[in-house]
């Protein structure tokens, strides 16, 4: 008998100073194996928080930033992430640069997406049709709500955050950055001052760590930074400027756009 695929589990986890949600989709109730993978996936987030939190004074990253320990004394994840950040910095033409943050190297703009992606990778081992890990607005997913369908993600309208600007199909990673929520957290690497040239910047792709970094880059650089994507396979982007205009790469996976969202 065919049973319909549906959301079989929802979980909220308070971690990394925010809420990360897990949604699992299948036709059957979650097995013991899947529940155990979920616990492991949650553990990945807490481990990342313990290592990378800039709010925990004794985290290896905090100690590294204060110069108390050397990179070699940090868990291997720290040097791995910093290597990935260097790659992201190059791809982003310098618009993303953890080394330009006042107070020492800060890979926070990469870590949340990276950790959510690693968490999802654990769930991928489970015999389920699909899963989404949503790290407070940045989503990593595999599969879909039904066989042959991709997950649909709503992008918040930065001009009126109670509504959606558009709906897209997720290719696996969707990250959004912008000034409308966290105020001064965007630093322009070229001036080292708080700067934003986009009301909202969304990047889709296959890896949420890189998508997260590129969304940060795009929020700082604005429309001019869309050139990052001209020779970058598998990653697409949308910038919503301060006038409400949409600027998207040609492959941006939009399903629908609010008719009046551009004004």
């Amino acid at each position: 008998m065919d049973r319909e695929t549906r959301r079989i589990l929802h979980h909220d986890e308070l971690v990394m100073g925010t809420v990360v949600t897990f949604d699992l989709y299948d036709e059957n109730e979650p097995s013991e194996d899947v529940l155990s993978l979920l616990q492991e996936a949650i553990g990945v987030l807490h481990d990342a928080d313990d290592v990378f939190s800039t709010y925990k004074e004794e985290s290896p990253l905090s100690r590294l930033r204060r110069g108390e320990i050397a990179l070699e004394q940090c868990p291997k994840d720290v040097s791995d992430v910093l290597e990935l950040c260097k790659v992201a910095r190059t791809i982003a033409d310098g618009w993303f640069d953890p080394w330009s943050i006042p107070g020492g190297v800060d890979p926070t703009g990469y870590v949340k997406g990276w950790a959510a992606q690693r968490s999802l990778d654990v769930l991928c081992q489970g015999a389920i049709h699909g899963a989404i890990v949503n790290a407070a607005g940045d989503t990593a997913s595999f599969g879909g709500p039904h066989p042959g369908e991709r997950f649909r993600i709503g992008i918040v309208d930065p001009a009126a955050t109670q509504r959606l600007a558009c709906v897209i199909e997720s290719p696996g990673a969707v990250a959004t950055s912008g000034m409308y929520e966290r105020g001064d957290h965007l630093i322009d690497p070229r001036t080292r001052r708080p700067t934003s040239r986009a009301s909202s910047a969304t990047v889709t792709g296959t890896d949420l760590g890189l998508a997260d970094a590129l969304a940060t880059a795009l929020a700082v650089g604005g429309v001019q930074a869309l050139s990052i994507f001209s020779d970058l396979d598998d990653y697409e982007a949308l910038v919503i400027d301060f006038e409400g205009n949409f600027h998207a790469t040609t492959g941006f996976p939009t399903v629908s756009i609010r008719s009046n969202a551009s004004k």
Partner: protein, 166 residues
């Protein structure tokens, strides 16, 4: 269809951001406050009709670490425990019809007049309310947007939902 309104107010001084849901849940203590004592700070009540009020239930639920969605179809609402958020203390009220969330609002908020927190009240909290609603109504499975530290909101929301058995 049987309709009933259940209003519960909970009190918890949470350490949002430091504790996970299941560890704060054990601190939940329920008390029966009238909703009139916590005037809704935020707007629209689209909750379906209710017929009178029933006394608050005397059972205490702990917040489940995982929940699957299945619940009887009835219009109900609950107010979550007060939680610390970055700039004050808030609690969230949730209305449901069956297992579908029909409205989410801030039941109470004390931000101590911090101007930064007023910015957050104005923008972040409505966003969070709407995100939870949109995810159910727009045939989407998630919402992507710039993040803020949402722990207090989510914590109170979760405790309200758990009171409703969702």
């Amino acid at each position: 269809m049987k309709r009933a309104q259940i209003v519960i107010a909970g009190t918890v001084v949470g350490l949002a951001g430091l504790l996970s849901f299941n560890s704060t849940a054990v601190n939940l203590s329920l008390s029966s406050l009238s909703p009139a004592t916590v005037p809704p700070r935020s707007t629209t009540t689209t909750a379906p009709h209710s017929s009178g009020s029933t006394p608050p239930p005397t059972t205490t639920r702990t917040v489940p670490t995982t929940t699957t969605t299945a619940a009887p179809a009835a219009a109900r609402s609950a107010t979550g425990g007060s939680s610390n958020y970055s700039y004050g203390i808030l609690s969230v009220k949730v209305s449901v019809s069956g297992s579908k969330i029909t409205n989410i609002s801030i039941a109470s908020i004390d931000d101590g007049g911090n101007p930064r927190s007023q910015y957050i009240d104005q923008y972040s909290l409505p966003l969070l309310e709407q995100q939870a609603l949109n995810a159910q109504s727009a045939n989407i499975q998630g919402v992507s947007g710039a993040s803020y530290t949402t722990a207090g909101f989510e914590q109170s929301l979760q405790s309200a939902l758990s009171k409703l058995g969702l």
